[in-house]
């Protein structure tokens, strides 16, 4: 078999064929829609939402920001759990410095909880 002058020429040809195979139907569909089908836009059709209900109101509304406190208190327990598990696993091999650092970290987190508790954020009534 005769080797082509540039061995990558076949790849380039195949690539062009593949791209053409993908683009030709798209171009044909576009041409058909562009030249034969009249466009029929409208208020409903150009609407953003598709649930059937007419959209009303403004998207730029205020949300109540009290929820962030619950988010932060949740974070206290969340972060504590993440760090307590490896802390407990390697507890016997820890140095005194690491132990003290961990206790300080825990106290910092618990302090936030105590603060929220004393401010009354944990009572729902």
């Amino acid at each position: 078999m005769q080797t082509p002058e540039n061995p990558y020429l076949v790849l380039v040809l195949l690539m062009a064929a593949a791209v053409g195979f993908a683009l030709t139907p798209l171009a044909a569909a576009w041409a058909w829609a562009h030249f034969f089908s009249p466009q029929k836009p409208g208020n409903d059709k150009n609407d953003t939402y598709e649930c059937g209900l007419a959209s009303k109101g403004d998207a730029w509304i205020h949300f109540r920001s009290e929820y962030y406190l619950y988010g932060i208190i949740f974070l206290v327990f969340d972060v504590e759990t993440i760090f307590l598990l490896p802390f407990a696993v390697s507890f016997t091999g820890l140095t005194v410095g690491a132990f003290v650092a961990m206790i300080i970290f825990l106290v910092l987190l618990v302090e936030g909880l105590v603060w929220a508790w004393r401010k009354g954020f944990l009572s729902w009534t």
């Binding site: 009249p38 029929k40 409208g42 208020n43 059709k45 059937g52 209900l53």
Partner: protein
């Protein structure tokens, strides 16, 4: 234009001849995508029709689209309440051309067993142009398949030119129908006179 007899003769010899119109309609008819849209118990039959036992996929209509932007066919499956009617019309308006409507079951056709209800729309054809109506309460999945085949027959026979060409090729046909509003006692307007002209009965 090739004659039907010559076409059959050629087909026996393994030569298939077609026209652009037939090819275009063949493609359209076999890829009707319905809108995922059920209103009442008829929707259960619609789901059954799309599942393996009845297998709507054999007719190219299994791709239920959850967005009206990608759907060609609205199957009004169930009771249309007056509260739901504006939403149905708005969804129809949001569908791209060409679009078709199947009124499935007695409720979608006329209100069915709930016709006397003050809150029930007496047929979706008061607001939308219905192409195929399926009687039954609810119709069996075979009936829905038959309706889809009837719709395919209709699509295949549409001429691409001329006065009765499909609506997406006719610029004069409006793309949107007026959405009714909630009135004090009824929908306003209670019907769309452009699509609903009931025969008037003259008593002698």
């Amino acid at each position: 234009m090739i004659e039907e007899g010559l076409k059959n003769e050629l087909q026996k010899q393994g030569v298939y001849v077609t026209s652009l119109q037939e090819l275009y309609n063949w493609g359209r008819a076999n890829s009707v995508w319905p809108l995922t849209f059920g209103l009442a118990c008829c929707a259960i039959e619609m789901m059954a029709a799309s599942m393996s036992r009845f297998d709507l996929a054999r007719f190219g209509a299994e791709v239920f689209r959850p967005s009206p932007r990608q759907a060609d066919l609205m199957i009004v499956a169930g009771t249309v309440t007056k509260k739901m009617a504006p939403l149905v019309v708005r969804l129809y308006n949001q569908m791209p051309e060409p679009k078709y409507v199947i009124a499935m079951g007695a409720c979608a056709i006329s209100g069915g067993p709930f016709k006397q209800g003050y809150n029930v729309l007496k047929g979706i054809d008061r607001y939308l142009p219905v192409d195929v109506a399926i009687p039954g309460c609810p119709p069996r999945p075979e009936a829905l398949i038959h309706a889809i085949m009837t719709l395919q027959e209709k699509i295949r026979n549409q001429k691409l030119t001329g006065p009765d060409r499909p609506r997406h090729l006719n610029a004069e046909i409006e793309g949107e129908y007026p959405v009714p509003a909630y009135g004090k006692h009824d929908l306003e307007p209670p019907k769309n006179p452009d699509v609903w002209q009931p025969p008037t009965m003259t008593r002698t």
